[in-house]
């Protein structure tokens, strides 16, 4: 009985859903505040993301009469649950995750793809023209950034010779400086993560001046609140995944120091994302795809090749 309660506690409260909501809103605040300060603006107060969420949750849901109400309603919940579920398999500040099995790295990657697909479904079934163009764009973009992201993350797993994130953490604790070999993959994955989170310069699916809000155009009220929360949580999950895969140092510390180090890693990734979106203009979808395939994929391939060679030389 207590084990069930403990499991429920860890899924719903810490380090599960509630923790994700709090850190997600915190990350949104840091992102917005930093973006504003870099642009010479004042920026929002710390509670602004929470206030936005509460306000949206209190509003009426409007579903366009042309839209398919079931799909329109399911898509945000599907996106949120996928983003939250993927978090349970990522080791945060220790060598172990909440749940772990061999092959969980693939599960996490696929679960992180689901929100994008859910955005597509929601946008497509809302039948608004802007939403349709936006949702088609987000799927087009998916094919461009997903390949380098997978290759970047899997090259790190290749070096550790395991398909489990927790075992990877163990490996990198045993071989402390091996994460340095994956820095190119880290760079590729950070850029690909910008595409996944649909942030500038890859905010093409929701380019305000072209397609209004893209796939989210018709969403309002609670459903829109869930979508916004999903993106915040995705940011935390993505940053945690990158931190676990590419910055696996200091994992053997005691819980408090480990938690501090983990927060620092995630914070620096969130700040890096905010910085990138401050200094870059939005790309066009064709430019984005050619950029991903022409530059990111070759770099990720080189990383894979380099890791194969390193493994052959050092791990005999």
């Amino acid at each position: 009985m207590t084990s069930v309660l403990r499991q429920l506690f860890s899924i719903l409260i810490f380090p599960g859903f509630l923790f994700l909501v709090v850190t997600g809103l915190g990350a949104e605040f840091i992102d917005r505040k930093l973006y504003a300060r870099l642009q010479n603006r004042v920026g929002p107060p710390w509670f602004q993301p929470l206030a936005d969420l509460i306000k949206l949750l209190g509003k009426e849901d409007l579903i366009p009469c042309e839209a398919n109400p079931r799909m329109f309603g399911i898509a945000p919940i599907m996106a949120l649950s996928a983003a939250v579920t993927s978090f349970f398999y990522i080791p945060l500040w220790g060598n172990s995750a909440l749940y772990s099995f061999n092959g969980d790295i693939l599960v996490v990657l696929y679960l992180l793809t689901l929100p994008t697909l859910a955005f597509f479904i929601g946008g497509w079934y809302s039948t608004s023209l802007y939403a349709r163009i936006g949702s088609v764009r987000s799927v087009t973009q998916l094919f461009a950034y997903e390949v380098p992201l997978f290759m970047g993350i899997l090259s790190s797993a290749l070096l550790a010779d395991t398909w489990s994130l927790a075992k990877m953490a163990v490996f990198y604790t045993e071989h402390p400086w091996f994460w340095v070999f994956n820095l190119a993959g880290f760079g590729v994955s950070i850029i690909a993560l910008l595409g996944k989170l649909e942030k500038a310069p890859f905010d093409i699916p929701e380019a305000e001046t072209e397609v209004v809000a893209g796939g989210f155009t018709e969403y309002s009220g609670r459903l829109f609140a869930i979508l916004r929360l999903t993106i915040d949580i995705e940011m935390i999950v993505g940053a945690s995944l990158l931190a676990a895969v590419f910055l696996p140092f200091g994992l053997g510390l005691d819980p408090v120091a480990g938690f501090g180090l983990y927060s620092l890693k995630v914070l620096s990734i969130v700040c890096l994302l905010a910085l990138l979106r401050t200094i870059l203009a939005r790309m066009r979808i064709d430019q984005m795809i050619s950029f991903c395939w022409r530059y990111l994929v070759p770099i990720a391939l080189m990383q894979l090749l380099a890791n194969l060679i390193i493994k052959g030389l050092l791990m005999r």
Binding site: L38, Q39, N40, R41, L129, Y130, R132, I133, R137, A200, P201, D203, I204, A207, E208, T209, E210, V211, V212, T278, I279, L280, A281, R282, M283, R284, I285, D286, Q287
Partner: protein, 410 residues
């Protein structure tokens, strides 16, 4: 919504985040490619030309100033120039210089505003925030010199209403130094930042021949190598006495238009410095007659967006017989359709923004096609139609009320 052959037709406007004013663009799309664009004017028609005929010349100066929120000095100067020509007034030289200085300050604020909007349209909000912050410097100067940030109320028939004092001139010069430094930074950004260049180069191409054929004016034309600038070709106010270059570019695209505008900013700083140095002492206005003698005049003015033309027909009374305004956007909006051919949807906002459109200045009454079963109604016909509609559909009879109202008017 769905045409055969995967054709999509999406409305950009009259309400759309890319547009700052209501204007209809109906875009036919295939995937992300634009097949064709239909432009519809007329969402913001205010009937200013007609209203001018019912007001005196002095009142018209203020009404005309409100045609545009950005180039307000442009329109009022253009109008008073025409009236002064009909009345045969010789405007004092100091007033000419003051008009020039305000005109150039206005150009600076308009171009900085445009730079920010262009940044926003390509998703580069940092540029928007920076350039609008710096625009506040020139807005403060305008408020200090004229008393207002936007509608300056400087012009009157026969001169200007306010003088520029020594202290104010010193403040203007100080602001020019600050702005020049900032503009150098923007030129650096525009010519070196990769993502900006990628989004601007080769987008919205308007060849030299097309620019001439479609009558592009202002920075839009000058970026296609059309060396036309009213300030140099047909000098008005004090421009004949100032040294400046007409900035042109041979890029023919949005990138060229950006370069022309940021470099024109540098020319404006130069002109303002020279004008403040050379400004002669003397009166700032001459007395204008209340009734303007019969006659007509056409006045040209180089607005920040291109050539602005006003035509005034006077009939000897204190009210004009006819006022005609052609704002620069009307000359340029034809070119937009041409520039968008075979481009991507993502280029549409920046291509539209690159002509620096001002739709409310451009809007005019368009009589629609007979094919649409539409027809023109006179005011009394519209009233009669409205009364009939309410009686038939809503069971409300307004005819008694209408009769009472009509009696009172009589």
């Amino acid at each position: 919504m769905h045409d055969p052959k995967n054709k999509f037709r999406i409305p950009m406007g009259p309400q759309h985040p890319a547009l700052k004013e209501p204007e209809g663009f109906s875009v036919a799309l295939k995937g992300e490619k634009i097949l064709g664009v239909e432009i519809r004017l007329g969402y913001n028609h205010r009937g200013i030309e007609k209203a001018c005929e019912q007001r005196s010349y002095v009142q018209d100066v203020y009404l005309i100033e409100r045609i545009c929120g950005i180039c307000s000095h442009t329109h009022s100067t253009c109008f008073v120039q025409a009236v002064e020509e009909i009345a045969g007034l010789i405007v004092p030289e100091r007033a000419q210089y003051i008009r020039t200085i305000i005109g150039e300050l206005e150009r600076i604020h308009s171009h900085l505003l445009w730079l920010g909007v262009a940044g926003h349209e390509i998703g580069f909000d940092t540029l928007l925030m920076y350039s609008w912050r710096d625009r506040e410097i020139v807005m403060d100067i305008l408020a200090q010199v004229t008393g207002n940030r936007v509608n300056y109320g400087m012009n009157t028939i026969g001169g200007v209403r306010r003088d520029i004092s020594k202290d104010q001139a010193a403040d203007v010069l100080k602001a020019m130094d600050l702005l020049e430094e900032r503009t150098k930074y923007y030129i650096e950004i525009a010519t070196q930042e990769t993502t900006i260049i990628k989004r601007l180069k080769g987008v919205g191409v308007l060849s030299h021949e097309d620019a001439l054929r479609l009558d592009a004016v202002g920075p839009t034309g000058r970026a296609s190598g059309v060396r036309r600038d009213v300030r140099a070709d047909d000098p008005y106010a004090a421009y004949g006495k100032l040294n400046f270059d007409v900035i042109t570019s041979n890029h023919n695209d949005v990138y060229g238009r950006t370069l022309v505008r940021v470099k024109e900013l540098m020319e404006s700083y130069k002109m303002i410095r020279q004008a403040l140095k050379d400004i002669p002492d003397g009166p700032i206005t001459v007395k204008a007659p209340r009734n303007i003698p019969a006659g007509e005049a056409l006045s040209r003015y180089e607005a920040p967006r291109g050539e602005d033309v006003h035509y005034v027909l006077a009939n000897g009374t204190d009210k004009p017989e006819r006022v005609k305004v052609r704002a620069p956007t009307l000359a340029n909006v034809q070119a937009v359709k041409h520039m968008l051919r075979d481009r991507f949807l993502a280029d549409m906002p920046i291509v539209i923004a690159a002509i620096d459109p001002c739709f409310s200045c451009t809007d005019r009454m368009v009589s629609l096609n007979e094919e649409d079963h539409s027809h023109l109604l006179r005011w009394d016909e519209l009233r009669a139609y409205s009364i009939k509609w309410h009686r038939d559909n809503m069971s409300i009879d307004f005819s008694g009320l209408n009769k009472k109202l009509m009696d009172r008017i009589k």
